[in-house]
Every structure is written in C-alpha cells, then in structure tokens.
C-alpha cells in the first residue's frame, strides 16, 4: 500500500512536468496549426539557460524565470524570422520539415556551444525531502509540481477570463471567423507560439536539476509531449493535462511493477491504442479534415 501510494505520487509529479511540455505543444498545434517538432529544442534551451545563469552564481529560483525569458526571446525571434514566413496557411508537411530542421539546428548548436556531455544544474531544493502521510518527495519535485499547477491554472484562468485569452480561444475554434470579428489573428498566433515555447523552456528549467541536462534531452521530452498530446487529443488543453497525468501515473506504475527498461515503449502502446479506437484522442474534437 505504501509502495502503491508512493508510486502514484511520483507519477503525479512526473505528469505535472509532462503537462507543462504538452500544454505548450497543444497550444501551438491548436492556434498556429503546426506540429512543433522544435519543441524539444526549446525544452533543452530552457535547461541550458538555467545552467548558464546558475553557473554565473545566480540563485536557481531566480534563474528559472530569467531562463524562461531567454527562451521567450529566442522563440519570438524564431517566430519572426522563420515560422511566420514559411508556414501559415501551408500544409503540415512544410511546417513539419521546417520545425524539425529548426530543432536539429538548435541541438547541433547546443552541442557546439556546451559540448555533448551531461551537465548538472545545482538547486537549493535538491537535497532535502519532504514527508506527507508517510510518503517521501524531494523538495525539487514538490517545487516542480507547485510551479506546474500554478502555471497551468494561471493559463486556464487567462484563457477563460481575459479578453486576450478569449481571442486565443476564438482563433483556435475558427481562425477565419475570428479574423472577420476583428481579432488580429497573426498577432494571436505569434503570442501562442511564444507562449508555447515558453512553457517548453519552463519545463526544461524545472526538470533540469532532477535529471542532468544534455543537448539531446529535448528528443525524449518531445516524444513524451507528443504521446501526451495525441492521447489527450491534439489542440485540446484539458486533454493535454489529462493525458499527461495518465501517462505520468502509467509510467510510474509500469516502472515499479513491470519493468524499467521497457517503460519508454509504454507511451507508444497507449498512443497506438488511442489512435486505433478513439482517433480524436480522449478529449479532442472529432474533425472533418484531419491533416
């Protein structure tokens, strides 16, 4: 019973981290209409920005928001230089290849700047553990969980309550209709892309201390993000959160009770089962034309 509770808690914490990655991915898919294969690279950039700031002597807690800011700036430049010019109104294939190449270039750049070896990001929360009802959780994981819940909650409230957020929702539902209502669709798309990569950067900065950072860390994050997003339904934010928690808990249970080394294959089994039996995902809208 203790073991099961501990496993469930670990899964929830893991799922919270996944949710931040996946919400960014699903936001970009819903608003900008592209599957962002460069998402993993922005995740890695968040980790590296955090490392860079922490190695300058900055406290980890101050480094996280600054790292997100750096990722936001890089994301905005990318959007302005590449995404905006090549993708809008285009097929998914062009966007797929461009974002994939962007991710490749960014990973190669990270290797050239920082080297291929894993680096450790120190965190003041790293060593201590907390105890709730007999279950041990490291402080860093508690921090990840709290941050994720706060950020996702803030995003949800923003989308629901603010005018800008409602505009974002409108563009996701019907971009052309939104344009006819006088919403500045290109600006909303830029905003959504930057918000999405910011979420990736935040996840990278949050997860950096519990796993070391290395240039290709983004690939596994990207794959997890895609499994979560497909499971929840592409473009659906509640779906991404539900999918993240499900995959987090499923991974933790599988690791504890079945096999650690086969765990990476579990997400794909779930995804293929989803696509076979409920192609729109758990909470996705059934679309007439899925690209």
């Amino acid at each position: 019973m203790e073991l099961l509770a501990q496993t469930l808690v670990n899964g929830l914490v893991l799922g919270a981290g996944y949710a931040v990655i996946a919400v960014g991915l699903t936001l970009i898919f819903g608003i900008v209409g592209i599957a962002n294969f460069a998402h993993g690279a922005f995740f890695a950039m968040g980790g590296y920005a955090c490392y860079l700031l922490a190695s300058q002597g900055l406290n980890y807690l101050a480094a996280v928001p600054l790292a997100v800011l750096i990722v936001v700036i890089i994301g905005a430049i990318t959007e302005w230089m590449v995404i905006r010019r090549s993708l809008y109104g285009n097929s998914h294939h062009g966007s797929l290849i461009v974002t994939f190449a962007l991710g490749q270039a960014a990973v190669a750049g990270l290797i050239l700047i920082f080297g291929p070896d894993p680096l450790a990001v120190p965190s003041p929360l790293g060593q201590s553990t907390m105890r709730f009802f007999g279950i041990f959780v490291t402080s860093q994981r508690v921090f990840i969980f709290v941050c994720s819940v706060l950020v996702l909650g803030a995003l949800g409230l923003w989308l629901r309550l603010s005018i800008r957020g409602q505009q974002v929702v409108a563009v996701a539902q019907n971009a052309r209709g939104a344009l006819y209502c006088g919403i500045d669709v290109p600006w909303i798309r830029t905003l959504a892309f930057v918000l999405g990569v910011a979420a990736a950067g935040l996840a990278g900065a949050l997860l950096a201390p519990i796993s070391t950072i290395y240039p290709t860390m983004g690939y596994s994050a990207l794959i997890v993000g895609f499994t979560v997003v497909i499971l929840g339904g592409m473009g659906s934010i509640p779906g991404a959160m539900l999918g993240a928690l499900l995959i987090g808990v499923a991974n933790a249970l599988f690791e504890t009770y079945v096999s650690v080394s086969w765990t990476p294959a579990l997400g794909w089994a779930l995804v293929i089962a989803t696509l076979l039996f409920r192609p729109q995902g758990l909470l996705g809208q059934l679309q007439q034309h899925r690209h």
Partner: protein
C-alpha cells in the same frame, strides 16, 4: 491540404509524343551505360581505401534516401520512422551472419522479406493517419524498436550491439575489399534508380502522384488511396532494409543506435537537398551531403547545423530542392524547358 513539394510536377503532365519517348529511352540508356562506366573507372582509379569505402557507404545511404523519397516524393508523407527498416536490414544481416551462421546474401534476403511483412503490418495501422500524426507515430515506433533492440540481449547483443562478423561476401564478391564494395553498392544503387524511374512512369507512379497532389480528387476518380499508400510503404521498406544491410560492411557494428532518428534525418536532408520530385534527387543530395563535409573536413555537428539551415531556407524559398533552383535558373537563362527528365 494539398501538398506542394514541387509545383513543377504540373508541367510534366504535358503528353510526351512517341518520338520523344523513344529518344528519351535512348538517352536514358546512354545515361545508364555512362554511369556504369564511371563506376568502373572510379573503382579502378581511386585507390585510397578510405575514400572508396566512404563512396560505397554513400551509395548505400543514397539507397536509404531513395526509400524515404518513395514516401516523401511519392505519396507526400514525411516518414520519420523509415530508419526502422534501415535498422531491420542492418540487424537482419548482423544476426543472420553472427548468430545463425548464414551467408550475408541469404540473411539480407530474409531481412528484405521480413521488412516487407513488417511494413504491411505497420502500414495497415499507421497509414490511416496523415501528416504530422503519421510522422509522429512512425517516429515513435522506431523508439519502440530501439528499446526492444536494447533489451533483447540474447538476439541483438543489447546496448553494445553486434560486431566481429566473418568476411562479408556476396557470392564471389568480397565486400571487405573497398573497390568491390563500392562497385557492388553503386551497381545496386543504379539498378534501384532505373527501377524507380520505371515505377514513376507506370500507372502506379501516376496513382501515387494523384494521391499526393489531391487524395480526395484521386479517390473520386477511382484511385484506391489507402491501397496505393500501403503499396508505396511496402515498396519503400526493402530499399531501406537493403541500405541498412549494405551499410554493415562499412560500419562493422550494429548497435541500437541504427534506429536513432538521426539516421532518418540524414536521409531526409539528402532528399530535400536534392529535391523530392526528381528520382535521382536523393542521390545528388547524398553526394552533396557526404562530399562537402568530407572535403571541408567539417565537424558532424557543424554539418547538421549547416544543412538544417539550408533546409529551412530551401523550404521557405524553393520547396522543390536544388532541382527546382536548377530548373528556375535554366528557365530564366533561356535553356530548353524539357522538364521530363525526372519521369
């Protein structure tokens, strides 16, 4: 929704007269004979074993790029999981030789058959999906393959992989001898190109074109879209598997890393560099992709950075690849506008 890898395809719909066609056949036969001659000459002139082996490996990898282009240029999907079959070919050759004691050619043949069967099974599931969904799921399946190759120690040798093969030979041809290796891979590549040229001109090639350009229209005029896509996928698999098997004499080791997405990316970059609409586009891309870094002695990461940037620029400004740039230049400076070479 429609996919525009090369808009110049439309111009090729102009009917080719019979006279033109016979002239074309003769011209292509002469191309083929010239290439054979060049292969023979290269095999004898270049003696530096490293360069010759690298050239042979490039030919093997160009074969992989051709396989990717059957999907990308043929039915218009981005096959991020094509290295699944590449790895299957490599592991098939390695397991056949190292574990079962079969000769190289027999193990490769078994691997080819297996790759077609696997493609049929995977294709039935994944080809229902299109666009990003197809790419993501096929990429994920390579991840599953990598996990499987790492964990099934008894068959695959685990994370360390398989190595230490007996001398690799096809009949009397010793593939460990660099000039022979180059000649064999180059000849296989040439045969593959001829086959694909014939395929593109066949009714099936036309069906693939129609599926890529507009699946709804294709369906409405009686093309069985799902069937065409599945056939193209099953056709692409043995090319990739053969490429994987032919890469083994160069690499001399097969690790779970063959399933890494980096392999697919290399092939994809080659296809996009050369242009997806030209049958030999991937081969041009493969040559550029290997030769320039080799000549300039580039670090592999600088190479990826450079070529990825080039791909972004190409996708932004010339989605047909170097081929489209060439055609545009030729049209501009008043060359003939016979654009039928790729077909």
């Amino acid at each position: 929704m429609a996919t525009h890898f090369g808009t110049m395809i439309d111009r090729k719909l102009v009917a080719v007269s019979d006279k033109n066609r016979s002239g074309r056949t003769a011209r292509e036969a002469s191309y083929a004979i010239c290439s054979l001659f060049v292969i023979a000459v290269c095999g004898y002139t270049f003696t530096d074993p490293f360069v010759v082996t690298l050239a042979g490996y490039t030919c093997a990898f160009a074969l992989f790029a051709l396989s990717i282009n059957i999907i990308l240029g043929g039915v218009g999907e981005v096959p991020l999981g094509q290295c699944l079959f590449f790895g299957l070919g490599a592991y098939g050759a390695a397991i056949g030789m190292g574990k079962l004691g079969l000769p190289f050619d027999v193990s490769v043949l078994i691997a080819l058959v297996l790759s077609v069967v696997l493609a049929a099974i995977i294709g039935v599931i994944t080809l229902r999906l299109t666009g990003a969904y197809f790419s993501i799921v096929s990429w994920g399946l390579t991840g599953v393959a990598m996990v499987a190759a790492t964990n099934l120690d008894e068959i695959t040798g685990g994370p360390l992989g398989l190595f230490g093969f007996p001398p690799i030979e096809i009949g009397p041809l010793q593939l460990s001898d660099p000039p022979t290796y180059f000649a064999v891979t180059a000849t296989i590549l040439l045969v593959a190109i001829l086959f694909l040229v014939a395929l593109r001109r066949s009714p099936f090639g036309a069906a693939m074109d129609s599926v890529r350009q507009n699946p709804h229209l294709a369906r409405s005029v009686g093309v069985d879209v799902a069937r065409v896509r599945l056939k193209a996928f099953m056709l692409s698999a043995p090319f990739a598997a053969l490429a994987g098997a032919l890469a083994v004499p160069y690499t001399q080791i097969v690790t779970p890393e063959v399933f890494s997405v980096a392999n697919t990316v290399d092939g994809l970059l080659m296809v996009l560099l050369g242009g997806a609409q030209l049958v030999i586009g991937p081969v041009i891309g493969a040559a550029v992709f290997t030769l320039i870094p080799q000549a300039m002695n580039l670090d592999p990461n600088i190479r990826i950075l450079l070529f990825s940037s080039v791909i972004i620029l190409i996708m932004m400004f010339a989605p047909g690849g170097l081929h489209q740039v060439g055609v545009a230049l030729r049209d501009r400076f008043g060359g003939k506008t016979d654009d039928d070479r790729s077909r």
